[in-house]
């Protein structure tokens, strides 16, 4: 199928998300759409899939102009999409999810479940997916859920398959399998639009690369281009992909965690007997695929989630069972994983958010009253120091870009003297320019002698920041390894292999991404 988008434009209010975008997808090619978070990739694909209506521009399929006003139109025209946040009903079985919307029925609208099961098994066999049609989607691993999404698109006879950030939730091994599937699909003549901001993946699989920046197509690139070239095209200026940082000079252990166990609300052991130590002046990065207990670990450290067993101590002082307030007062700074939800109050101003945990005491508080002059003065200083791009300190934080929101959060946390900084996904959904800045501030804090614990699912971020890496899998720390451990080894450990196993296997089985 030959798909051509020309002059597609979409604005939300005053923001032009897509500005006259032209794109040609040839039959059977893997076309990468590369761009930063917020560059407009998803908006473009949502227009192609009928979830958004373009303000102007047209979509041409095989030389014919088409109107796509709903997902059913898109499906009819052979366009399938695997969304970043899976569009699966968690309490349905795999088969139910796949038949939804195009159910095989007998007389009276009665579902033909046998046929649906057979269809799932057939496609699952053809691509070596090993998906059980009777399994509930909420019970199967994320990687398998993604396969269900792909099967869903294929049963609709998709000839163009859009994959929106498909690798965000996968282990390196699973990413490798996904790459295999994509190639197989391509051989069968399916074109693939692959949306990502990860340079390594682009280089590994793309036939053609289109780079989008601020809603505009800024250029095409060949997969042979270097990462630096791609990054420059994506960001619009030369970027340092590696943070300048001196080797760590760790001192005494500040944070000691022993036998920490957290049971989540569904009754699963989220954190399973974790022992950890973070020393002053070092960055310990907790690596792992999303959902392996890192979130709960960080929350347990702050006292945001109850623990079932274990102890937490800071500088020899036992913090187990203390309130979050007491832990903050003891010198823990916290950058939460979901900043919009836990990190700031969106409708409050930048100035107010910068003192969210400081307003009780002098200089910002004064008995009953807030001292607005001090709060403003503080805000001016922080905005300048952290290069927060805002029209003014009175602007609401929710109106800032993701990167600037995160700078507000980090600026606030670093404005107290800290013994330990816990930062979960510090650069998720943040533009490359801000990533550089945030990373350098975190390293600077380390150099001041603060112990730093980073939780990240991005191996690039781990590589950039970590002095030591603790890999988590199913709630357990499978190993603590040096920062220069090869990517493939880390990847295998993220899938549960021990340090020594990972080392051997990684050498024998290099992955596509690991070898770039």
């Amino acid at each position: 199928m030959h798909l051509e988008l020309s002059g597609l434009t979409k604005s939300f209010g005053s923001l032009v998300a897509n500005d006259h975008i032209d794109l040609v997808i040839e039959p059977g090619e893997i076309h990468c759409l590369l761009g930063e978070n917020g560059a407009g990739k998803s908006t473009l694909m949502n227009m192609l899939y009928g979830l958004l209506q373009p303000d102007s521009g047209e979509i041409v399929i095989d030389g014919e102009k088409v109107q796509i006003t709903s997902p059913s139109d898109a499906i009819k025209h052979g366009i399938g999409m695997v969304h970043q946040h899976f569009m699966l009903v968690p309490v349905f079985t795999v088969a139910e999810n796949i038949m939804l919307g195009r159910e095989n029925v007998r007389a009276g609208g009665v579902l033909d479940r046998k046929k649906a099961d057979a269809l799932v098994l057939e496609l699952s066999d053809r691509y070596g997916f090993e998906v059980d049609p009777e399994a509930l989607v909420e019970d199967i691993p994320v990687g398998v859920q993604q396969r269900v999404e792909i099967i869903k698109a294929l049963t609709n006879d998709a000839r163009v398959l859009i994959l929106d950030e498909p690798t965000a939730v996968l282990t390196p091994a699973e990413i490798d399998e996904l790459i295999g599937v994509m190639r197989q699909l391509k051989e069968n003549g399916t074109s693939i639009v692959f949306i990502t901001h990860k340079l390594k993946e682009v280089k590994a699989i793309a036939d053609k690369i289109t780079v989008i920046r601020r809603g505009k197509v800024v250029g095409q690139a060949e997969p042979s281009a270097s990462e630096e070239e791609l990054a420059e095209l994506m960001v619009g200026r030369a970027v340092d992909l590696v943070v300048d940082k001196e080797p760590a000079e760790p001192k005494d252990a500040v944070l000691r965690v022993e036998g920490l166990t957290v049971i989540d609300e569904r009754g699963f052991t989220a954190v399973d007997g974790v022992d950890l130590e973070v020393r002053a002046g070092e960055i310990l990065a907790v690596a792992g695929v999303q959902g392996n207990g890192q979130t709960e670990l960080a929350e347990a450290l702050l006292g945001l989630t109850p623990i079932a067993a274990g102890t937490i101590s800071l500088d020899g002082r036992d913090l187990t069972g203390r309130s979050t307030r007491q832990r903050l007062d003891a010198g823990i700074g916290y950058v939460p994983e979901d900043r919009a939800h836990d990190g700031f109050v969106g409708s409050f101003s930048v100035a107010e958010n910068l003192v969210l945990d400081l307003f009780r005491e002098a200089p910002f508080g004064n008995g009953m009253m807030l001292r607005t002059d001090e709060i403003e003065k503080n805000a001016q200083a922080r905005v300048e120091e952290f290069d927060i791009r805002t029209q003014g300190i009175d602007q609401t934080v929710s109106s800032l870009s993701g990167g600037n929101q995160q700078k507000v959060v980090l600026a606030r946390e670093l404005s107290r003297p800290l013994k330990l900084l816990v930062a979960s996904q510090p650069t998720r959904g943040v533009d490359v320019g801000s990533i550089e800045f945030l990373h350098s501030r975190i390293v600077k804090e380390r150099d001041k002698g603060t112990a730093v614990l980073i939780v990240s699912t991005e191996l690039d971020e781990i590589a950039a920041l970590a002095d030591r890496v603790a890999v988590m899998y199913r709630g357990k720390v499978v190993g603590v390894v040096p920062a220069d451990t090869p990517r493939d080894e880390l990847g295998l450990m993220m899938a549960g292999a021990s340090k020594s196993e990972a080392h051997e296997v990684a050498i024998e089985n290099p992955t596509t991404l690991g070898t770039i």
Partner: protein, 429 residues
């Protein structure tokens, strides 16, 4: 192309072992505690049971034959011990989690049995009447709860069942009085339920009004409009407009001859049979048909449904309107199925009890039916006990079913999981 999934990586390990979360533990102990209290009360009642026989009347109105005489105290003690055993087993987790509900059921039956033995020692308890009355009270509750199941499975909260009942009851009375036709009355009641449902649907699905507030407003509206029409038009000409024919019982040959349950279940009005049918049909439709699959999909994850080309709003409209039929029929039961005339606010909160039944039944048609039967049983028991005169004050007994509702809805249902998008309007950009 590279090889993946090396041997060293454990291939798809078994599901992580489920350990009881702290919250679950607390809930188990709390629920277990409540169960134990009930069990001990049951045992206590047994201790205070008078000697002599408790007689249970097995056929309604027959005081000579078909009586079941039991030695009251020994039976009560056995039941009391059984109840304590069930409560202790629950607290100590002696049975797998999914059978824990059965322990609660055992306790419930044992408690009620012990209670009945205590109350009717030396007296005669009209057991057949008890079950007959249970069904009478439960019928509108079942229909209302089924209506709620359909709405909420599609993602629309329906607080307005009470309002649908009232309008249905009024319409059925009016149409039956004027046309003398049972069929016309039922159809009109169903239609009036759909009309109320249409208001709910339009304002919640199209205009995105908060569904809880909307539901309450609709109940107030229904109370107002039926009260107004009753005062202004129906009451002045009550003989013409408020003398509906009560539906006559239709005996199902064969089935009605089954001892004890036959006359109770199969010598009923068409409306009760329709209720049986509705439970089966709603269950089948929800879980085995295309429409049902789509209803559940839009109630759980409307966006996922949208991305496979399902018209979310259309499905929601269809579910809410279909539910209106059931709620309207449930309303009809109050006038043409039971009382024989309309009175202001005669549904007396039954719509809200139906809502409780739906939650207690975990948004499942069968569960909702069981819960509705339980509430019906409690209501009927209260009036029976007043007749046979137990030492418990009537006011306290009147309170019992509602207390039972609160306890049941608060704790005994275990972890309640509503449809994920229940009450959330679907808005596309």
């Amino acid at each position: 192309m590279t090889e993946t999934t090396p041997d060293a990586v454990p291939a798809a390990p078994a599901k992580p072992q489920v350990i009881e979360a702290p919250a679950d533990r607390t809930r188990r102990l709390r629920v277990g505690g409540v169960m134990l209290v009930f069990a001990l009360i049951g045992l206590g009642l047994a201790a205070f049971t008078k000697s002599g026989k408790a007689t249970f009347q097995l056929v309604s109105g027959d005081l000579e034959h078909n009586l079941l005489g039991l030695p009251a105290q020994p039976v009560a003690i056995v039941l009391g011990i059984l109840g304590v055993g069930a409560a202790v087993a629950y607290i100590l987790r002696q049975v797998p989690q999914r059978y824990a509900g059965w322990l609660a059921a055992v306790l419930g039956v044992a408690f009620i049995g012990a209670f009945l033995c205590w109350a009717s020692a030396g007296k005669t308890f009209p057991l057949a009447n008890q079950f007959q009355g249970t069904l009478n009270f439960a019928t509108p509750l079942i229909l209302g709860a089924l209506a709620g199941v359909l709405c909420e499975r599609a993602g629309v909260i329906n607080i307005a069942i009470e309002g649908q009942f009232l309008v249905g009851a009024f319409t059925a009375a009016l149409v039956s009085s004027t046309t003398n036709s049972a069929t016309a009355a039922l159809i009109a009641a169903a239609a009036s339920g759909v009309l109320m449902a249409a208001l709910l649907a339009v304002f919640s699905i199209k205009y995105l009004v908060n569904q809880v507030v909307l539901g309450v407003v609709l109940v107030v509206f229904a109370t107002g409009i039926t009260g107004f029409l009753f005062d202004q038009f129906m009451q002045p000409e009550a003989e013409k407009l408020n003398t509906p024919n009560v539906l006559s019982a239709v005996k199902i040959p064969g089935l009605a001859d089954i001892p004890f349950i036959g006359p109770i279940l199969f010598n009923q009005t068409i409306l009760v049979y329709l209720t049986y049918l509705a439970v089966a049909v709603v269950t089948f439709v929800l879980f085995e048909t295309r429409w049902g699959l789509r209803i559940r999909a839009v109630g759980e994850h409307p966006k996922a449904a949208d991305t496979v080309g399902i018209k979310v709003k259309r499905i929601r409209y269809s579910a809410v309107l279909a539910a209106g039929v059931l709620a309207g029929l449930g309303g009809a039961f109050f006038t043409v199925g039971y009382a024989g005339s309309f009175a202001k606010e005669m549904t007396a909160g039954n719509g809200f009890i139906a809502l409780a039944a739906l939650i207690m039944g975990r948004w499942h048609p069968i569960g909702a039916m069981v819960a509705a039967l339980f509430f019906g049983f409690a209501t009927q028991l209260q009036s029976q006990l007043q007749i046979i005169q137990t030492p418990i004050p009537g006011e306290l007994l009147l309170m019992a079913p509602y207390l039972a509702t609160i306890i049941a809805v608060a704790g005994l249902v275990g972890r309640v999981r509503a449809p994920k998008a229940d009450g959330e309007p679907y808005v596309t950009e």
